[in-house]
């Protein structure tokens, strides 16, 4: 089964509530679920839509063809009519013009008017559940979790009336419930924030920017339960500099933004580099440049993130592939930043951030925090040198006030072991080399290999970084079903670039990157790092995510037909 629901309407009509509640219900019912969102950059009006795809199989991304179209206004039908499957069904407000036999009218406003005119959306949820032939048991519990007590009764009434207003259509969806019990249903921004919080994050300072604000919101909400400070900075310059100050004082600190905000943090990323102050920055990408398409998705910041500031210094860039990865990356990035005393940039994107799916519960047993801060019995605690030369380039880290009589001095100028300004050539060279060699150790000890899906013997290799993994994974499966000898190499760590598996596979396969940008940035990166020629790139830069079928089709058209 592969069942796809699209809910569309104006911003401000309460789409998100339908989506949230329905998503949770379907998740709790036990379906595999993938939920994605398409927002406009406005608060009211326009056209927004959400997609809920359910299946008995694990899902990796959204799908264009619609089984059930929930139209909160008639414009939604206009816009999405083409996507409706032959046997697709439309659920729409009662007053609207009927399109064909497969359109079901929901008298949502009429029903809502009786109880709460603003709660049209709950009526719709009821109607949808009936159409899908699911019962209301779980739905009521979800409502109870979502509404304050004084609103709950009304909403349950609305749900039931909606439920009773239509007839069931699908009768065997429930047969497709296969999901395991130990799963959660989480969006990418929350997963990333959750991962960082689990890593002992103490300070998150950021300036609101779509689509990254969800991380801040998740974390802000945890402040009462955890020893955590979330501070809205006056601008992105302050945001990251504040985080550096937090890190300097010894606490784990992080910032988050989107590309335009990252573009204000460049000098400070260099500061983290030269002062060797650990810090994590999440760049939740959207299309640019400048303001671009504020609420949409893209993967155009790869080379910009890697080349984050003037001159050379070590940094790491990680592009988590999905919600699960976002959690573990949030955790791991803090560990790596501390271990190597470097800035770590996490490249997420709107698609990753705003989509939810069912994933395994996070494995907290696997998580160990490693601060790499020296203790008072360390030999380096006396006559403390913040930038002591060591074999692996990593100096003993202490924080101000930690050791009686010792001070900690960090400097944005080139400096000596104590942190004092220097200008001599010899120290400069040693310090550049010291900083650079930390990356060698990172490559050896901590670089995550890309995930490989496929056989040994392939003709084509799909290459993804970050969130294109999901749709590409689906495409990979579709292609394999056609007996095309294809593999998928999905990168999470992108800088430094793990090369071995790529080199091995590249020997016999034709390479194809799949990227949401217009210049094939990953192809360029591969060329500069390995001199390997990527023959094809499936690119998209309209602000919308890939679907698996789309990649599949374009692969057939652009790669095989041209091959």
């Amino acid at each position: 089964m592969d069942f796809n629901i699209l809910i569309g309407g104006e911003a401000g009509q309460g789409l998100k509530t339908i989506d949230d509640i329905l998503g949770k219900i379907l998740f709790r019912e036990g379906f595999n679920i993938f939920s994605s969102k398409d927002f406009m950059s406005r608060i009211r009006g326009g056209h927004n839509f959400m997609q809920l795809r359910i299946s008995d199989q694990k899902l990796y991304g959204p799908e264009n063809d619609i089984d059930l179209l929930i139209a909160l206004n008639s414009e939604t039908v206009e816009i999405h009519r083409e996507q409706l499957k032959e046997d697709g069904i439309v659920l729409i407000e009662g007053e609207s013009e009927v399109i064909d036999g497969r359109t079901i009218l929901v008298p949502a406003s009429v029903i809502a008017n009786d109880i709460n005119p603003k709660a049209v959306n709950t009526v719709f949820v009821g109607a949808i559940l009936k159409a899908m032939n699911l019962n209301l048991e779980i739905a009521k519990k979800v409502l109870a979790d979502n509404f304050e007590e004084e609103l709950l009764d009304d909403n349950i009434k609305l749900l039931e009336r909606g439920y009773n207003s239509v007839e069931p259509i699908y009768d065997n969806l429930e047969a497709n419930i296969t999901k395991a019990n130990d799963e959660i249903f989480i969006d990418g921004n929350s997963a990333l924030g959750f991962g960082a919080l689990s890593g002992g994050l103490r300070f998150y300072s950021a300036y609101p920017m779509s689509p990254s604000t969800g991380i801040m919101k998740f974390l802000a909400g945890q402040q009462k339960d955890y020893d955590l400070v979330v501070e809205q900075a006056e601008d992105e310059l302050a945001a990251l500099n504040m985080a550096l100050g937090g890190s300097y004082s010894g606490i784990r600190s992080m910032s988050g933004t989107s590309g335009g905000g990252l573009a204000l943090m460049n000098e400070t990323i260099g500061l983290a580099g030269i002062t060797e102050t650990p810090v994590v920055v999440a760049d939740v990408q959207r299309p640019g440049p400048a303001t671009g398409l504020p609420t949409r998705t893209g993967q155009g910041d790869l080379l910009f993130a890697i080349n984050s500031a003037q001159d050379d210094f070590p940094l790491m860039v990680i592009a988590p592939r999905d919600q699960e990865d976002l959690f573990y990356t949030g955790f791991r990035a803090l560990n790596l930043a501390d271990k190597y005393q470097i800035p770590v940039i996490i490249l997420s994107d709107q698609f990753n951030a705003d989509s939810s799916k069912n994933i395994k519960e996070f494995d907290f047993d696997s998580l160990t925090i490693e601060r790499n801060i020296i203790s008072s019995d360390d030999e380096n605690a006396e006559n403390y040198k913040r930038y002591k030369f060591t074999e692996d380039g990593i100096s003993p880290r202490a924080y101000p006030g930690q050791f009686k009589g010792e001070t900690v001095l960090v400097d944005s100028d080139e400096h000596d072991e104590k942190g004092h300004i220097v200008e001599d050539a010899e120290t400069r060279i040693k310090m550049v080399d010291k900083r650079a060699c930390k990356i060698d150790k990172l490559i050896e000890e901590d670089l995550q290999k890309p995930n490989y899906y496929g056989e040994e013997d392939i003709n084509y290799l799909l290459l993804t970084w970050g969130s294109s993994y999901g749709p590409a994974r689906e495409a990979y499966q579709l292609l394999k079903e056609e007996d095309i000898k294809v593999g998928l190499l999905s990168f999470n760590d992108v800088w430094p670039l793990p090369k071995d598996k790529l080199k091995e596979l590249a020997e016999d396969a034709e390479l194809v990157t799949v990227e949401l940008n217009s210049t094939a940035q990953f192809k360029s990166l591969i060329a500069s790092e390995t001199l390997i020629d990527v023959e094809n790139s499936i690119l998209k830069y309209d602000g919308r995510p890939f679907t698996g079928k789309e990649i599949y089709q374009r692969f057939l058209d652009e790669v095989i037909d041209n091959g």
Partner: protein
Amino acid sequence: MANKKEITITDETAWCPGCGNFPLRKALLAALRDMNLDSDQVAMFTGIGQAAKMPHYINVNGFNGLHGRSFPPAIGTRVGNHNLKVIVESGDGCSYGEGGNHILHNIRRNPDVTHLVHNNQIYGLTKGQASPTSEEYIRTGIQIEGTTAKPFHPARFAVGMGASFVARTFVGDQDHLKKMVKAAMEHRGYALVDILQPCVSFNKINTYQWYSERVYKLDDSYDPSNIDNAFEKAREWGDNIPIGIIFQNEEKIFRDRLLLEDDEPLVEKDFNPKDAKSIMKDFK
């Protein structure tokens, strides 16, 4: 060698002979010693400029960051460890020019931070361009016939913004300078000390003599808690330049508004990833 805990100053600096930064440092040292602060108890945050080199020349914890960004890292450190005495220190260009947005919003945060601005009314390190506080008739290689804007008056601005402590002092008066630094450090909240500091290399207008002829001390009859008086005093500049505490008022500080459970510094708190495990139920 002096007791390691004791705050000391270096013999060598990259400052010009005769620079106002020397007496400034001297008074700062005296103030910190008077307050019995050990070197590890103070953290100084600076930007880039001649003034900003201070943490290299006085032995306290130092974060010598970016030009214009002396302030934000101090906020991060206030979050992590409020047991440290935090000084933000930098030049007028760094603090009021490139860093203008941070002073604006940190006055609103009112963190427990002492802000020492070496106001030499010039960009020293970059060799003598006008700073925001330069007199409009100054001539430099860039401002060949004076500035294209009227001067920024730090005290006027800070009183206007409602800063909780605003003082002005002059490096030519060691006792006063020391007193102001101490008062600022004892103030609970944001304390701006605008310090008139001659730059002997580039500022040929605002010399020791120029300041000496103009500054006068606010006397005991002056009430720094009255905002209207303060705004009047804060506007005085030119022939008569008042020095002293121009305005002071106790208010909520940044830390008072955080949602922290107790007073233990975050840096000293333990954490286990499993403490966060229960959040998973929100996603069930």
